[in-house]
């Protein structure tokens, strides 16, 4: 009897909640659709990255529209090619705004995208970069710009948390200093790593032979617990091969740029045992979060290829966050969406969690990815970098 009453109350409660949601769902759909301008690189050097998070976002939009849009208001996308050129980014953004864009999705890189976000800020509309990880960008633009990928600082902290959990005490650091991403990542790692940095090697961006570094590591023998390999694929593939060929089987800790389906092919399954890297989420292997599996399936169907790089997940997740904020804001007003975004806490996204927003960049969970005996990508664990 008591159970029945409880069930009845729960049902009433849920119904009220549902009604509440229904009223919040009314979206100010002036113009018949939400027009999102996508000012991203479709050509040029940055297109390899920018295109992938754009596609991730487009798939999210496709799913949202299949379910009837945001509060019944469908999303319409207009696109412009920034040609990977910072000067062109502003121009393309202005053109999209003139064509009626009500908010802008901008490039995944601060340098390349800042002009676009400033054009949006000047026009009083919101700009959003799904896959940018710089915390300086929002500072440079103002209150209507958000970046949504895990910050470099949080990635570095997550690396340190994982290394500390693993009990590694002595780390050998290898860093490619040509990019701020790597130097900034290493700095946060260093600041949060409990153990000792045995040595730091800087490798050139165009290096193909790491025998000097490898023999130094080999000579140190058991004075090193793990190698912090802070470079990107394909360099890391070459490095790991050379290190393992020299008989060094130390654990290797890397970053999100390790994410490439070609890595196991280049390095081989055996060499990848004890290789870990930290990323925003997991999409590369089997046993995926169902929503991520669906994302990968749709991506393969729509674009004829497995997602080319890690930006697919930030693109997809970013668009989901934005859609949620739009739903809460009930309009495309920049101040209202900004407030709605900033109030998001503990959002469970497919593949990772957003804890909260801090100065318009996210604080979110990281994922450790490793490899199984067959060289398949596997999710090792989630890390809370806080």
């Amino acid at each position: 009897m008591f159970r029945n009453i409880l069930a009845a109350f729960t049902a009433i409660g849920l119904a009220t909640l549902g009604a509440g949601q229904a009223s919040a769902q009314s979206f100010d759909c002036a113009g018949g659709a939400i027009t999102i301008g996508m000012a991203k690189a479709q050509t040029g050097g940055f297109a390899f990255f920018d295109n992938v998070d754009a596609r991730g976002a487009l798939i999210a939009i496709e799913q949202i529209n299949e379910k009837g849009g945001i509060g019944g208001c469908p999303i319409k996308v207009i696109r412009g090619d920034t040609q990977s050129d910072p000067a062109k980014a502003r121009q393309v953004a202005e053109e999209l705004i003139a064509q009626g864009a009500q908010l802008l999705i901008v490039p995944a890189d601060f340098d390349i995208g800042v002009g676009a976000s400033q054009a949006a800020q000047a026009a009083g509309i919101l700009s959003f970069s799904c896959a940018a990880s710089s915390t300086a960008w929002t500072q440079a633009v103002g209150p209507h710009h958000f970046t949504a990928a895990i910050t470099i600082e949080d990635s570095g902290k997550a690396q340190a948390v994982f290394a500390n959990q693993k009990g590694w005490k002595r780390m050998y650091v290898v860093v490619n200093a040509a990019f701020n991403f790597f130097t900034a990542l290493e700095k946060t790692f260093r600041d949060n790593f409990a153990g000792e940095i045995v040595a730091t090697d800087t490798v050139a961006n165009d290096a193909t032979d790491y025998s000097a570094n490898v023999s130094k590591i080999r000579r140190l023998g058991d004075k090193v617990d793990a190698v912090y390999l802070n470079d990107y694929f394909p360099h890391v593939g070459t490095f790991i091969r050379q290190l393992r060929a020299a008989g060094v089987n130390l654990p290797i800790l890397g970053n999100s740029t390790f994410s490439s389906k070609a890595l196991p092919k280049v390095v081989g399954a055996k060499a990848l045992s004890n290789v870990y890297y930290i990323a925003q989420g997991f999409y590369e292997g089997r046993n995926l979060d169902p929503a991520v599996a669906d994302l990968v399936k749709r991506y393969e169907k729509k674009y004829g290829t497995f997602p080319e790089n890690l930006n697919v997940l930030p693109g997809y997740q970013g668009m989901l966050l934005l859609a949620d904020a739009l739903r809460k804001a009930g309009s495309v007003d920049a101040a209202k969406i900004s407030a709605a975004l900033s109030s998001q806490t503990n959002v469970a996204l497919p593949g990772s969690t957003l804890y909260r927003w801090k100065n318009r960049h996210p604080v979110r969970s990281a994922t450790v990815i490793g490899f199984d005996a067959k060289g398949e990508f596997v999710k090792v664990q989630s890390v809370d970098p806080r």
Binding site: D81, P86, Q91, D111, G115, S134
Partner: protein, 366 residues
């Protein structure tokens, strides 16, 4: 008075004035057309045309050195970088500066100058840098000098990457106010065109061009080849530095990788297409290539001025540009304008039709 093409100026100050004002008149006319266009379109293509104007200043700066000395330079992005970083650094408001560059010396931290002073400072800094290295680089000739300028670019880039205290290293430098307006950029373009023309047809420019065509003969005639080249180098660097400051005030955020070899390629192509030895040719190169790229961008985007829907073909602008360049240079190997400039002449006076760049007489009717 009539406006015509000429290879060189006649004798006397009046002829010099005619040559300087000739090319400048054309650039002023283009600038007025640009301003009217943007005003009529309600500010629609403003960013595009500001970018084109800045590129035009870069091309003119490039022409001053390459056109007058005949030495190919790959190093000019270094001067754009110096202009952008120095001009940007002095223009960032103090409040932002303390957040992004906490380790600056006190006096620099509190320094925050306006738009035009920052242009002067940035241009002067680039000129000064050129003056320091000039006497070394300018001893070399031909390909060696070209490679040396590339070396200079690499060094400048590395210095910027490692001078964290002032440049934020490899991180993005930001906080420069957005101040490059259409009127500022095109006003400076006109002024710098006049300066470049005045230099080209001054005695200093004449000496540099003489040393370009026959260094041995020039030296025998008492011309200090290295010194004349350094003059062109420093002026060229200053103009390029001004373009850098303007770029900083347009982009507002940039990093060392923004100023590398890829930046000089389009500038080179524009200068070569228009005629490396001609200033007005450089401007023509900018106009032609910018217009073409913009036209092709519409096609790549999948619509022709919103009228016709066509499938998007990415990369076609670069492809057609390459083909166009080959065709133009097949038909006019020395670029559209060769070495000619526009000049005002009194009606009836005969133009100077000697082409100093060919050393042969060539009929150039009015």
């Amino acid at each position: 008075m009539r406006l015509g093409l000429t290879h060189d100026r006649g004798p006397g100050p009046l002829a010099l004035m005619g040559t300087v004002t000739g090319g400048t008149t054309i650039v002023i006319a283009i600038s007025i057309a640009v301003l009217i266009w943007v005003w009529a379109a309600g500010g629609r293509s403003e960013s595009l045309l500001v970018n084109v104007g800045i590129t035009a200043i870069m091309v003119i700066g490039y022409q001053v050195f390459v056109g007058n000395t005949g030495i190919v330079s790959f190093g000019h992005p270094a001067f754009v970088a110096i202009g952008a970083y120095v001009g940007g650094l002095v223009a960032v408001p103090s409040g932002i500066k303390s957040a992004i560059l906490p380790d600056l010396p006190h006096w620099l931290m509190n320094l925050s100058v306006g738009f035009y002073p920052s242009i002067l400072i940035g241009g002067a800094a680039a000129g000064l840098a050129a003056l320091v290295v000039g006497p070394i680089v300018m001893r070399l000739s031909g390909a060696t000098a070209g490679i040396m300028t590339f070396g200079l670019l690499v060094i400048t880039n590395e210095v910027i990457r490692n001078l964290d205290q002032f440049t934020r290293g490899t991180q993005t430098f930001f906080g420069v106010p957005k101040a490059s307006g259409l009127l500022d950029v095109y006003g400076l373009l006109c002024a710098l065109t006049a300066v470049s023309l005045a230099y080209k047809f001054s005695r200093f420019g004449l000496r540099t061009r003489a040393a370009r065509d026959d260094p041995l003969a020039a030296e025998t005639s008492g011309i200090n080849v290295v010194r004349t080249r350094v003059g062109a180098w420093v002026l060229s660097a200053s103009i390029t530095g001004v373009a850098g400051v303007l770029l900083a005030h347009q982009l507002t955020a940039f990093s060392p990788q923004s100023f590398f070899i890829t930046m000089v390629i389009p500038v080179m192509v524009m200068a070569v297409l228009g005629g490396t030895a001609s200033i007005i040719g450089g401007v023509a190169g900018v106009v032609v290539i910018s217009a073409w790229l913009e036209f092709m961008r519409g096609i790549e985007g999948g619509s022709l001025f919103g009228l016709v829907e066509i499938p998007s073909i990415f990369g076609i602008s670069q492809l057609t540009l390459g083909v166009g360049l080959i065709l133009v240079l097949r038909l006019r190997p020395r670029g559209i304008f060769g070495s000619t400039e526009f000049a005002w002449r009194l009606s009836g006076s005969r133009p100077r039709d000697r082409d100093p760049d060919r050393g042969a007489t060539q009929g150039q009717g009015e």
